[in-house]
Amino acid sequence: MSKNRKLKKDFFEIKWKTDLPYRYSIGKLAVKFFEELKVNKKILGSKCPKCEKVHFPPRAVCADCLVEMKIDDMVELPPKGTLEGFTVVNYPFTDPSTGGIRPFPYGYALFKLDGADTYTMHFVDETDVSKMKIGQRVEAVFSEERKGDLSADIPYFRIIKEEE
């Protein structure tokens, strides 16, 4: 095997690593969301003034109606919801925000907050799929010190076990 490797042609290649800093304007609704999250531990979605669909995460335009949602259209949502889909990510890949391998395995789920009409993806605190079920209740876990960043302020959602 090692002999074969030596015989294999050593092709000419150049390796590099990009490291591109960027600044992304998050938009007024997200600013309001993170302010409320930081100061009052509240979760806000945005409600379309036309079709009344409640979007979480909040966003500025309702894709169905192409109608703008303003800060006045933001509504508070409970930090609880229902699990709609789940997986455990169990493969290595480079996380572009760090340049390193993202730690795995991790629980990753699709859920709907109570009162929201759209779905959300985030980390969940479970890596054993036999303990996860569609329909389970989930709850946002808030950091004590919040700084206006999703992964720092709500690092994951917790699956509420049935006995609780």
Binding site: Y22, A63, G85, T87, V89, F93, Y119, T120, M121, L150
Partner: protein, 390 residues
Amino acid sequence: MKIPKHDVAVVGIGQTKFRSKRRDVNIPEMIYEAVKMALDDAQLEPKEIDAVIIGNMDHFEGINFSELLCGIEAAPGYLKPVVKVATGGTTGSSLAICGYHNVASGIYNNVLVVGWEKLNEGGATTGIITAFDPVWERPSLAGALGPLALMAGMYSAKYGITPEQAAKVTVKNRSNAANNPFAHLQMPNITIDYVMSSQMISYPLRLHDCCPQSEGACALIYANEQETKKITDNPAWVHAVETAHYYTFGTDDKMFDLPTATIASKKAYKKAGISNPVKDLDVAEIYEPTSWSELSWTEALGFCKPGEGGKLLDEEITQMSGELPVNPSGGVLSTNPIGATALVRVAEAAIQIMGRGEKRQVPDVEKALAMGFGGSLWTEIMILGKNPMR
């Protein structure tokens, strides 16, 4: 419905042998192989090409503005219009549809489209993450496979589709791939057990439920009816194209049943005069990033009722010997050079129409469907036929 100005046909096809690594060639050299093959196939001189449309996803190789590197050196774009198209997984089908529009509208008499990717030089998962929202989606997103795993789990829970049925898709497609000299993963002796004992990489997806990362390129030449007559008496005519884009965030809706595929295919069937896709189509080349997705997509495309994708497979309708073979080429589960992947679907559908599929040929193909999937659950459809629409 607007009537296109011209009938348009595929008159030249080129593709590289797809592999996990092409360390013997750089990007333009690799693309040139497919372009040259398409030109030779149509017996056209480079100078006879009117315009070039090229596509890939920049973040996968870290080469931004890649048409600069490739539009001239790898494709005959010197002093001609060269346009770049990048729409994620659908890049190849967007290329196919843009090329079609440019000829159907009468702007050009012919157009060369080429899609490519060299995924071993960067990576799809990392690149895909950079396509999504930095605040809400990037932190937890695991490329395409994370969401595809969620979709597979939800689909399985809703309809009772089993991991065995999913594994059977991989077995079908990778054994079909053994008949396709261009396919990347050719596994004539693959078994259900082999798929089901492979590593769990994101429940319920095992390694062999997922598409590979491939390197290679695919090129097509389109021509209007007058030019087509001069080039070949065996073209593949475009009967219908349709695109359906979805929400910005994949999570705006529940992630199964792929509504865009249902919407786009219904419109395309209407244009192409197809009332019963299983009866009226002779072959389908669909974009299945995972084994589970093929089952779900066959439902969304109307090949069977919702929830019956597993039954359709069990009844062998989508097998090579079935009423509507799906992915005789081996599909995406065998070959996935992302910017070329959906264009390979169109190329393979055209090959079937032309009767040039050799060992992977389905007998007497009159109508074929090609599908692209990607972005935020987007679908693109192209229907090809043996005869012009008018």
